[in-house]
Symmetry: C2
Subunit: 355 residues, 2 copies
């Protein structure tokens, strides 16, 4: 089983190193190959997603991804900026299903902005469509407006779109995930305003015919943003488009108060997947050895489960993370009085020890 | 001064009645004229925004709007659904600037989902562009895909767009509002992915040249959704597009825990405005006399301030609302132990008494 390891920028290298440590003690026959991506790749090779990195990613069974982005690349032209690497990988590998768990760990409930009773035990799964919508729709660009409020003015535009098969496959992903959980799916759209999301609602409703054992509810995106704050535990599996999913999955992650703990998976139809922490590259703390590696370690666990068919090893890692939390070990982002503050490498070592 | 009063559906009639009560005791020479809108108008006249209602709205100096929407209209064709009334009014009157305050009242801090220290004293203003973006962009519809992942498949699509003058005018609104507040604007976009919002960022930055006394920061929408949860008090004036504003303004409103208290204003270039509570039509509690009329009463205050040039009267209403809160009067949505539960009409009467 071949894994492409792409550390990226900022804290990427530090957190990936710990996940690699953990994978290495599992005694599975994994072949890990590292390549650069993001701003680092731009610096070294002139492009955030070099051909060689893309080739490695395509050949691998799974990709373990750190994070990309750094202030120093903010003024590059768009197609050279670090985030193009992640957009490019999603597109080139067809990684249409993004699974973003938002879990509130018992020991970390206090770290949430929300009152403990609202988030204690929270375990919700946001399923974001990742290769369609306004992220990739054509045409897009700048032009002179020919209609609208200011004909003749300069304008910029993008195209939102979803085709039936794109909606169908992500709906199947959601209903199947719901069957392994609480048999409930909330589909988030803006059917009252957008043609794209009226169609989304229609197609999700059709696919639901094949999953009569699962309850389906439809919710407008503005209401979903509210319900996440008001009563997140009323939601279980939430499925939505790329743009709304970007916003809601980050909102949900922040609700838990411990985004440093949250992994993610982005899968294609062949179960090839890219696995990365839900948090970013945090350039402000890069190189200090204080970043939380647990989201990346848990991403490696998701990788074992979803792409490498090693559910047992995944369970072991997740169990080991529970153990280090129970031991009171905490990186700075989740530290609270009475616990033991550790650095990135110490946390990784502790997980290894717990294994 | 002529005011179009449009109660709408659900609790609309009940809450508007209290705002009208309040306006009537102010002894301003206001001419109020009522017309139907939304599902109610569809039922009576076959269209959610009848010609006569639109005509009245256009002639009036301001519109006091209740709420629209009810489950019974969910299966109507889109162009006949209640929410088309509000979209139509925004478009026909050119109400491009939506001001959505998110204020956490001292006495109601406990009602928030967030820990009290995070929201106590929260006073943020979201300025949402309201007549552009993907809400109104053409073309939109269904068609057969000619490219993308599934050429030949059925697809639906919408067009996101912003022209330079549309961005300029809402940026001016934001910077001017900031001058009356903390001299800080956060512009929310998705410049890393969307052409429309790269342009948005560019134009806002240009307009900012004229407001060097105001600090401008740019924030991605996914990050904004997180920062609202993490540290809402770090934000003051937030300006964004129609779609992102829809989501973020509702998220922010819910953070306060008392959406029943939050007014909104939608203004055009001539300071004509539509004023409505931030909450919806709540058909589940309609007709029971328990809805909170304060958001609507506070919307009437905003109307006096922004469209009718009666800042003093506006202050008086806002003061009266503070008084009834201090008296411990609460409708069900904001009730807590030790306070006095009142109905819609009693609450309106109390505000009148406080005046
Ligand atoms: C970096 C950016 C392009 C990306 C996105 O918008 O998808 C990120 O926010 C994410 O959610 O992975
Ligand atoms: C009813 C709907 C069309 C409307 C919108 O999306 O703008 C509403 O959510 C709002 O925010 O006023």
């Amino acid at each position: 089983m071949k894994i492409a390891v792409l550390p990226g920028d900022g804290i990427g290298h530090e957190i990936i190193a710990e996940a690699v440590k953990v994978l290495n003690v599992l005694d599975l026959s994994l072949e890990l190959e590292t390549a650069s991506v993001g701003g680092t790749a731009y610096k070294e090779q002139g492009h955030p997603l070099p051909e060689s990195t893309l080739k490695l990613a395509k050949e691998a069974d799974a990709i373990l991804f750190g994070a990309v982005g750094d202030f120093q690349y903010d003024n590059l032209e768009r197609h050279l900026r670090p985030e193009q690497a992640i957009l490019g990988l999603r597109k080139e590998l067809g990684l249409f299903a993004n699974l973003r768990p938002a879990i509130c760990y018992e020991q970390l409930t206090h770290a949430s902005s929300l009152k403990p009773e609202l988030v204690a035990g929270l375990d919700l799964l946001i399923i974001r469509e990742l290769t369609g919508d306004i992220y990739f729709g054509q045409p897009r660009g700048r032009r002179t407006a020919t209609d609208g409020h200011f004909p003749g003015a300069e304008e910029a535009f993008d195209t939102m779109r979803y085709s039936r098969p794109e909606i169908e496959r992500i709906a199947h992903t959601a209903f199947q995930a719901a069957r392994k959980r609480k048999n409930k799916v909330t589909s988030v759209d803006k059917a009252n305003v957008l043609e794209t999301f009226q169609f989304w609602r229609d197609v999700v409703t059709e696919v639901h015919q094949q999953y009569q054992d699962v309850t389906l509810e439809h919710m407008y995106v503005d209401n979903a943003a509210m319900q996440l704050v008001k009563a997140p535990k009323n939601l279980d599996v939430v499925v939505t488009g790329n743009m709304f999913g970007d916003i809601l999955s980050d909102e949900a992650a922040m609700l838990t108060g411990s985004i440093g703990m949250l992994p993610s998976a982005s899968l294609n139809a062949r179960s090839q997947g890219l696995y990365e922490p839900s948090h970013g590259s945090a350039p402000d703390i890069a190189g200090q050895g204080i970043a939380n590696p647990l989201a990346t370690i848990l991403s490696a666990a998701m990788m074992l489960r979803y792409s490498l068919n090693q559910a047992e090893a995944a369970d072991r890692i997740e169990q080991a993370v529970q153990t280090v939390l129970a031991q009171g070990l905490r990186t700075g982002d989740i530290y609270s009085e009475g616990t033991t503050r550790v650095g990135t490498a110490q946390m990784g070592d502790a997980v290894v020890a717990a294994l």
